[in-house]
């Protein structure tokens, strides 16, 4: 008699436990992003709203971009990341390599006024494997406290050690540095990639980098440049504009951004091939690329939405009340002279140039 009752109870308990853990597994999503003030902006901007609406808990991890960790996961067949925030060149490479799920069939929410997503997004930000979320700029920033005399105004000043002695911060990768080097050497923005495609142009870029190499501190995470500028470890640094903005308004740092000759690129969300929570990941990407989500991010960090309906809605900074519009990279004031990153160019040459850059670095 007794056993008759115990067995079903046990079965129920096991089944209940199993389904509870199953439900638990369904309700989480691993999102990987660039950390620091940008990741915080995303959490405030739309992660919280997403969890509130769907009940799906977000597990946030940091990485420094690139494909290495994604490749390692996909190649070894143990994928534990779902959604990744990627730069556009690695996204293209990874898509060709089969590292990302296709999202070109994703149903993206329309603009608040009903304009369909396909018309609302900027040209070129919707790709096979990624949905664009923002426009960011790699800029030159400096700390006026450590500069004597006239303040620097152009990319040429960044490479001018005589006029502005002191160390420089640069990204520890070939991307953006080669372009900055040529612009600093007087190449107009529209000729940069053309020039870099020639052997002589590439040598010219490395020669220009050579001229300041001994004075460069290399950074790897977006949070480093504002830190190094604040500490006086460097007097000028390349940096992502949003990180500098955050240090300016939230930490009251006196940093100045040189908008001239900045390099502009789009940030994108993608789903890792074989993601354990594919359905939730798709829901998340659709939610995160709505106008409201983009505006939400833009009110915490100065990265511009990639929807036409987004930019006019960006108002004041959510914490300090600073007007966000003048800080957007897309602002006409800031857009007088800039370079769009050539994604295809980089996608083709990333590996080769990384190898060459590393060899150059260690010499």
């Amino acid at each position: 008699m007794k056993t008759n009752r115990i067995l079903p109870t046990l079965l129920w308990a096991v089944a209940g436990f199993g389904s509870a853990s199953l439900a638990w597994a369904e309700q989480t999503l691993t999102v990987v992003s660039f950390g620091g003030s940008y990741a915080r902006a995303c959490v405030e901007g739309y992660h919280k709203a997403f969890t509130e609406k769907t009940g799906i808990r977000i597990k946030l991890e940091d990485y420094n971009g690139g494909l290495a960790q994604i490749r390692a996961q996909v190649d070894s067949g143990s994928v534990h990341w779902d959604v990744v925030d990627t730069e556009s060149a690695p996204l293209l490479t990874g898509c060709d390599e089969g590292l990302f799920e296709y999202v070109d069939d994703l149903e993206l929410p329309p603009a608040p006024d009903g304009t369909p997503a396909s018309e609302d997004f900027f040209d070129g930000v919707l790709t096979d494997c990624g949905v664009g979320t923002l426009i960011y700029a790699t800029v030159i920033a400096f700390n006026p406290e450590f500069i004597e005399g006239a303040l620097p105004t152009s990319i040429r000043d960044f490479f001018d050690l005589e006029k502005y002695p002191g160390r420089r911060g640069m990204l520890r990768a070939p991307a953006t540095n080669l372009e900055f080097a040529l612009m600093g050497d007087g190449v107009p923005t529209e000729k940069v990639f053309e020039e870099l495609s020639t052997d002589e142009g590439m040598r010219r870029a490395f020669r220009k980098l050579d001229s300041i190499k001994d004075h460069v501190v290399w950074w790897e995470t977006g949070a480093q440049p504002p830190q190094m500028l604040a500490d006086g470890e460097v007097v000028m640094s390349t940096a992502w504009n949003g990180r500098i903005f955050n240090a300016q308004v939230q930490e009251k740092q006196p940093f100045v951004i040189i908008w001239d000759s900045h390099i502009r690129d789009t940030g994108t969300l993608a789903i890792v091939a074989g993601a354990p929570n594919l359905e939730n990941a798709r829901k998340f990407v659709a939610f995160a690329t709505s106008t409201q989500a983009m505006v939400g991010v833009a009110q915490h960090i100065s990265y511009a939405p990639v929807r036409h309906s987004g930019l006019p809605l960006v108002g004041k900074h959510a914490v300090t009340g600073v007007d966000m519009q003048p800080h957007m990279p897309t602002q006409p004031e800031n857009s007088r002279n800039f370079l769009w990153n050539d994604v295809e160019w980089w996608s083709e040459r990333q590996d080769e140039l990384t190898e060459r850059f590393n060899a150059w670095l260690s010499r």
Binding site: D96, W218, A273, E348, S362
Partner: protein, 402 residues
């Protein structure tokens, strides 16, 4: 009776062996097997050969001056689709790309588009999908990557490669990197060993010659950093040495350096040398102290009573007796430095990187484990050579750790 005694004797003989078994197993699992796997990994690269068996068989007698025949293209197409299905295509692409840079995207892209491609004229369709299928060098790279056993990684680990005609040649100048790094690693290890010796010897001598209670305090001062996490010690050097750090601040404050020209002490070779010397110092002091403690102080007194001045007594009586400790400390510090990784990664900047940082890069970032294994084997051989030279010149039996 007799038999029982024999059995007991046998048992007695096997007890020590049995006691050693866990150790043997431990060494096997944690040392011998990983090491063997590493050596195999450095020469064995089966991914491409496993993915394209038919294509490679067809390519076996291909003259690599013209494009292969259409049946090769057809075999390739079929195997591309297959390897896309079992998700091995990424690994294959990575390997071919290492040989012919810029070809990584060809494979997955072609495999995907083949689904909707015209299959009647495969070479034409494939070349239409990606023009590189019409390029002999891509096919050469596939054949090369298809070799199951290869010396490629060893060649690459010493800046060599096989040219088109199979000749071994130096890689182009802007890609040369490893020779510089090996030399730099040996130089840094040597410099660290010397500075550890110069700093460590007087300290160890001081500890042996002061009173017991003071010696205890001094030993603790040596040991506390030794017990502290390596990461903590290394990052504290960052705080001390950076541009606006404590040391520069003090130098500016006492007027030794101008505020505008603060010394660059970190993110370069100086940082690596300072931090590594500090981190490895206990490995020098402890063997020295152990040996020095066993040198009876009466010898020095005897030398003095025979008319030696303190310097002579030290140089001719004391120092020779401390040599086993010196050689043990130097060998320990030198070999540990050869494989040092965290400290240069954190305080070394670009120019303070050592060969071990390159191994880490290939393990974590470029995912070229074969190359990482080959570099590791080269370093390991270097360590054995040091050990051998040490044995020849000093004698390993002279080594004393205490």
């Amino acid at each position: 009776m007799n038999r029982r005694r024999q059995g007991r004797r046998l048992l007695r003989r096997f007890i020590p062996v049995g006691l050693a078994l866990p150790l043997v197993a431990f060494v096997l699992v944690t040392f011998v097997i990983p090491l063997a796997t590493m050596v195999v990994q450095s020469v064995h690269d089966p991914e491409v050969a496993d993915a394209f068996p038919r294509t490679l068989a067809l390519l076996a007698d291909w003259e690599d001056s013209a494009l292969p025949s259409p049946d090769v293209y057809e075999a390739m197409a079929a195997e591309l689709v297959l390897s896309r299905e079992n998700r091995s295509i990424g690994k294959v692409a990575t390997r071919v790309n290492r040989i012919e840079s810029g070809t990584r995207s060809v494979f997955a892209k072609t495999a995907r588009r083949l689904e909707s491609a015209d299959t009647s004229d495969m070479p034409a369709s494939m070349i239409q999908i990606d023009r590189r299928w019409g390029d002999v060098s891509l096919w050469r790279a596939i054949v090369k990557a298809g070799q199951r056993y290869t010396a490629r990684h060893y060649l690459q680990s010493i800046d060599l490669e096989r040219g088109l005609d199979g000749e071994i040649q130096l890689v182009s100048e802007e890609r040369r990197i490893y020779k510089t790094l090996y030399l730099r690693t040996v130089y840094v290890s040597f410099a660290v060993t010397v500075s550890c010796f110069l700093i460590g010897y007087p300290i160890a001598f001081a500890i042996t010659s002061v009173s017991d209670s003071l010696a205890k305090i001094l030993l603790v001062i040596v040991l506390v950093p030794f017990w502290t996490s390596l990461l903590v010690r290394t990052t504290s050097w960052l705080v001390l040495l950076q541009n606006q750090g404590v040391i520069n601040d003090i130098l500016v404050w006492i007027g030794l350096v101008d505020d505008g020209s603060r010394l660059a002490l970190v993110h370069n070779m100086t940082g690596t040398l300072i931090a590594m010397t500090h981190v490895l110092l206990p490995f020098m002091i402890l063997p020295l102290y152990a040996v020095m403690r066993s040198i009876p102080p009466v010898y020095m007194r005897a030398a003095a009573s025979l008319g030696a001045n303190p310097f002579q007594a030290f140089a001719r009586v004391y120092f020779p007796q401390s040599l086993p400790g010196v050689s043990a400390g130097c060998l320990l510090v030198f070999i540990l430095s050869l494989g040092y990784y965290i400290t240069p990664a954190l305080v070394g900047g670009a120019k303070g990187q050592l060969i071990s940082n390159m191994i880490a890069y290939h393990i974590q970032t470029s995912l070229n484990w074969g190359l990482a294994a080959a570099i590791s084997v080269v370093v390991l051989v270097g360590v054995f050579v040091c050990y051998f030279l040490f044995d020849r010149w000093v004698g390993i039996d002279k080594l004393k750790l205490g």
